[in-house]
């Protein structure tokens, strides 16, 4: 079974982003970029499934600018076999990415597609579900455990209030939650090997997908600042302040 894993290049999760002074967006020039953390978990899960023998080939896919190649090389250093970059300078929104991935799913016919549950830049949490809808495949989102057997995936999902287990027939779309696994570190020899692996580049036009954004960003602003608080010397003062000043207890 082939697995397709979608990875996104995002601002590193440790970076505290700043809103541009003209309110057109977030300043990401000269900021460290990395693979979206949930996508690392997705690649790791694909590699573990391959190590268990449930998967024969792992294809990593990324959509975006030319630099996404670095993200794909990282995926191949973790263990993906080859990569496809859908290259475009256009702003890509989840619906467009889902359509691009749908075109690749039609072409590659994977038995499973694994994505992260959300990207930490746009915080959308949409692409996996949209891909499932467009490809008319079942979905198992927010996965914390995946077992493949008898043409089905049994997936434990993180839901409000606990866990839920669903069984989906393959092919299926799975999106990863944080606790699915702990991604391995890439080693230098694997980084070197990844440089030799196959990386194909296609354009959205080649896939016949219109990626024009549907949502227009009018403005990006700083969130409301909290007014500076005070430090209290002891518990008694804290309780007194909460009772008389804040009146919350």
């Amino acid at each position: 079974m082939k697995v397709l894993v979608a990875v996104k290049r995002v601002v590193d999760y440790n970076v505290k982003v700043r809103v541009k002074s003209d309110n057109t967006g977030v300043d990401i020039a000269n900021v460290k970029m990395s693979m979206n953390p949930f996508d690392e978990i997705a690649v790791e899960e694909a590699v573990r499934l391959k190590e268990k023998g449930a998967v024969s080939e792992i294809i990593a896919v990324s959509c975006g600018v030319a630099q996404c190649q670095e993200t794909l090389r990282t995926a191949m250093a973790i263990g993906a076999d080859r990569a496809i970059l859908v290259e475009t300078d256009a702003e890509l929104q989840p619906l467009a990415v889902a359509k691009l991935l749908k075109a690749l799913v039609d072409k590659e016919q994977p038995g499973l597609v694994i994505l992260g549950k959300q990207a930490i830049d746009d915080d959308c949490n949409q692409t996996g579900q949209m891909l499932a809808a467009l490809a008319d495949l079942p979905q198992a989102t927010f996965a914390s455990k995946v077992e493949i057997a008898d043409g089905k995936a049994q997936v434990t999902r993180e839901i409000d209030g606990g866990l839920e287990t669903v069984a989906v027939s393959l092919p299926a779309i799975i999106t990863t939650d944080l606790r699915l696994n702990e991604p391995r570190y890439v080693t230098l020899p694997n980084i070197m090997k990844a440089k030799k692996k196959q990386l194909d580049t296609v354009k959205p036009e080649d896939l016949g997908v219109d990626v024009a954004p549907r949502i227009k960003t009018l403005k990006v602003s700083e969130p409301a600042k909290r007014s500076a608080g005070i430090k209290v010397p002891d518990v008694a003062t804290l309780v007194a302040k909460l009772k008389t000043e804040a009146k919350v207890i």
Binding site: A98, Q126, L131, I159, T165, V166, R214, G229, L238
Partner: protein, 309 residues
């Protein structure tokens, strides 16, 4: 112009998140209808009919809808979607699961985690873990939206809408419910609690977590939350996690004990009315958002606080 709210329920009763979503739907302008898709969920449909601002409840009943499987619920929503200009889901695990599936089938973009309705086509939503607020406009004919429930008040009860039974969509047959494991708790629900006491990695073990946090929560009638570090270390179950990847909360009082305040955690709680931080590290970032900061060892300060209350 009519908005459809997809109710979150457990078949017996309506979940609180539905009420906040109804308020957001009303802000879009026009009538508000509620879809209750479930199995033997007449009680939830009746409860939805009593919410102020709701003019009609659609009730679809089928065994295939019992567990809210995305494939089946999305098909149910799509069966009635053509009558609506706005389709709103609460931004909960189940809302996030189904909404994008509906949007993609309608070939429209989806707006996630909306925190403010500016006008019927313009909305505010946080990006980059809440470090920026984007004002976005959609040109799509149908607006599919998930609503950040803590950003909207809950709609009151006292209405009297009609309940209309509609035909249930067929089972997709592609997925099935196997089972669930829900954390038992008699505390207030995290996302609805007025007071939350939250513990971090500094607690050191799950025994200490319970030993220190539970008396404080009991005393305040509070829900217990946790940072990702505490959850990953196994000190607390994952459904207690507050943050970008866990629950987004906005209680009146949030007490952070032994939590440093990583941006991913702050994204989940910085809209709380009053924030108290108890931490022995004077440099902890949590102090930059806390209204009241106490620089102390939580193992002595928290029991002292319990005693003082």
């Amino acid at each position: 112009m009519t908005a459809l709210v997809i109710a979150e329920h457990d078949n017996a009763s309506l979940k609180g998140a539905t009420l906040n979503t109804i308020t957001a739907a009303a802000a879009c302008g026009g009538d508000v209808h509620v879809l209750v898709a479930g199995h033997n969920a007449a009680a939830a449909a009746a409860a939805a009919a009593q919410v102020v601002g709701v003019s009609k409840v659609l009730h679809a009943d089928s065994a295939a809808l019992a567990h809210g499987l995305a494939e089946n619920v999305a098909a149910q929503v799509l069966a009635v979607a053509s009558a609506y200009s706005h389709i709103l889901f609460p931004s909960t695990a189940s809302g996030k699961n189904v909404a994008p599936r509906v949007a993609a089938k309608l070939d429209v973009a989806q707006l996630s985690d909306v925190t403010k309705v500016v006008s019927s086509d313009t909305f505010e939503r946080p990006i980059y873990a809440g470090n920026a607020i984007a004002t976005v406009q959609t040109a799509d004919a149908v607006k599919v939206i998930t609503v950040r429930t803590t950003a909207f008040d809950a709609a009151a009860s006292g209405g009297s809408a009609t309940v209309e039974s509609i035909a249930a969509a067929a089972d997709s047959g592609k997925s099935s419910f196997v089972g669930s494991e829900l954390a038992k708790s008699d505390r207030p629900e995290l996302t609805a609690a007025k007071i939350i006491v939250s513990g971090g990695r500094a607690l050191g073990s799950s025994e200490k977590f319970n030993e220190v946090m539970t008396p404080l929560a009991d005393k305040l009638g509070a829900a217990i939350g946790a940072s990702r570090a505490a959850v990953d270390a196994g000190y607390a179950p994952n459904d207690l996690q507050v943050g970008q990847t866990g629950k987004i909360v906005a209680p009146e009082l949030y007490v952070a004990c032994g939590i440093s305040g990583a941006i991913q955690h702050l994204a989940g709680m910085k809209d709380s009315k009053v924030i108290v931080a108890i931490n022995k590290d004077p440099e902890a970032p949590i102090f930059s958002v806390a209204d009241y900061g106490l620089e102390a060892d939580l193992f002595t300060a928290v029991p002292e606080l319990v005693k003082a209350l």
